[in-house]
Symmetry: C2
DNA sequence: GTAGGGGCTGGGAGCGTTCCCAGATACCAC
DNA sequence: GTGGTATCTGGGAACGCTCCCAGCCCCTAC
């Protein structure tokens, strides 16, 4: 059934233009006509051809999303990507857009993907998740003038790019302050990788909490980790030796490593050492880990909201959004959950 | 820079048609002309407008993918969705297509998504992952005549739909036969939910292995589970009582439940009871579970290959593909890994 | 009565491609 | 020389929309 707007017009006894006006909810159509046209559209199950529409409006009503390879398949935190994407997808659908997804393959083939993305002009804007380092795609898109939002703060051009990220500093400050509030005074930190804003900001938050409490930052209480369980384990061993009575692990995975080390050495948590993590992975509820929850789904939704606002001209970039985190009190910090 | 094919034609001193022929790699263009046009295209960084192309060719070079809500966020097996999607994405990009992704939200709003999908004609075909029950979207698409492939065998219209799934029967048969080969004679099964082809087929494979070995199927060795850890635990308790010396758990999650039960009751695995699971979740390597590995990434790639072949007319549907599984021998079966 | 303006409608033009057909040229066989 | 065929090229038409402009009608104000 080769249905086009002209067929509908004929069936309704009106012109192409009128049907178009009804379709797009424009004014200057009499109520009677509008109703009649709507009825025909409904009856025929007609939907306008999006390609034709895109050709003239220069808008496709869809957005592109790029997920780097390591994010999608990372073993440690398999929840991250689906949950984020769910938030993205929900909001995209809600606001009447479709989502084009690219997932990075091997790094060597990322170039191909980048070219595909920039050549495919079937999208009105682009969301890039966790662009690490000096991502060439981000640079490209930035230059092309296409509306662009990244999830997490990009390493380069951060002031010229719109992004959505966590308030990492405040989250880490809260975690550390909570440990101090439990009476701990020798609070150590196992940082994430420090080539990365998340890692750096969480360290800043830690230091801030100490400063707020009038405690000095002791360099031997700062252990540089790498987000993974082994560095959590090693960091804990080191901090135990140096007499720490509390540890803020910059993510939950490393916090699990801390638990490993404590079990091995025979230290009791939270009695001997209190512990707070970061991320609120599902698995941490099982082990009673006190942690900082990040609103993953909202992060995706907020990023899409920003991108669509940029596309629709409701917002002007660059714009940065820092989402609040939440302290989730369980057993490892030694506080009574209230 | 409003670049269109006409601009390129003018710059190269040829006609629109010739540029189009070069762009599409058609014959009947002299080598000299082709080279000259290519050079201009390269220099100007020109790429044809996909909307205009789609308008006339009725092809968008993109495919839609629908992931139901519960699959994306399912707690038990968070690897499933990203890994499958990675396979889908890889192959899609490789073959020069883009991917439109929809993720189911709450079931109540699935209707909205379905309408969005069927209205959005910006795709040449549709991949539906794990359509459970009598999925209305599948029925819709089937009726619309749009090329359609599902991952996993659909519950309804299975003979009219192209799909890619595991060879569940053979996988389960292999698992069970392996237990028998270890000298076990009282082999029980904890099935998955039996409203579902995966669950049913794995039971069939189990029975087949018994028959092959000349062993009777005893109904009290068949425990109907529900894919989750608690039913694995309960099933194991029941089978232990009935004297089973081996258990085939229809998925790894339930196998973990079996380990829970064994630890509680004080049975040694594999000494007292041998155990084989199904899926090869990453976590199972840690606990030494012998299991059946399913090629998740290949599943996604195979589904896309089938879909694109259908779209491009290289294949004729409906077509069913059963992917082979692989026995991964670890500790819980009692065999020596070789 | 006439001018002016707002509500409503219709149709031409154009978006950037591909497809089809016509035409030009060159070559070959008879 | 002629007819036939293969190679190469150009331009009209069409894909299905939106946008713009013109025109109609009716109401109101002067």
């Amino acid at each position: 059934m080769p249905q086009n707007i002209e067929d509908i017009a004929k069936a309704a006894g009106v012109s192409r233009s009128t049907v178009s006006r009804v379709l797009n909810g424009e004014q200057y159509v009499s109520a009677a006509t509008r109703e009649r046209v709507m009825a025909i559209i409904e009856r025929e199950g007609y939907t306008p051809n999006p390609a034709a529409r895109a050709l003239v409006t220069q808008r496709t009503q869809s957005v592109g999303v790029m997920i780097p390879h390591d994010l999608a398949t990372v073993f440690d935190n398999p929840w991250y990507f689906p949950t984020l994407l769910q938030g993205v997808s929900d909001r995209t659908t809600q606001r009447g857009y479709a989502m084009l997804l690219w997932m990075g393959r091997s790094e060597t083939e990322e170039d191909l993907i980048y070219r595909r993305i920039t050549n495919n002009r079937l999208m009105d804007g682009m969301l890039v998740a966790s662009a690490t380092g000096d991502n060439p795609l981000v640079a490209h898109l930035l230059e092309s003038g296409m509306p662009l939002v990244t999830v997490e703060r990009p390493a380069a051009h951060a002031d010229r790019i719109s992004y959505v990220t966590l308030d990492n500093i405040e989250g880490a400050r809260t975690a550390t302050a909570h440990l101090i509030a439990q009476g701990r005074r020798r609070v150590g930190i196992i940082t994430g990788a420090l080539d990365n804003m998340d890692g750096l900001d969480r360290l800043v938050g830690y230091k801030k909490a100490l400063a707020d409490a009038g405690l000095p930052v002791q360099s031997d209480y700062v252990y540089t980790g790498n987000w993974d369980r082994p560095t959590g384990y090693l960091g804990a061993k080191a901090l135990f030796e140096r007499g720490a009575d509390a540890i803020f692990a910059s993510n939950d995975i490393m916090a699990l490593g801390v638990l490993d080390a404590a079990a091995e050495v025979g230290l009791r948590i939270p009695h001997d050492v209190a512990l707070v993590g970061f991320d609120d992975l599902p698995v941490t509820a099982e082990v009673g880990l006190t942690t900082i929850r990040q609103p993953l789904r909202q992060k995706g939704a907020a990023a899409i909201d920003l991108l669509l606002d940029l596309i629709e001209g409701r917002a002007r970039g660059p714009q940065q959004i820092f989402l609040p985190t939440q302290l989730v009190i369980r057993q490892t910090c030694g506080a009574q959950p209230n």
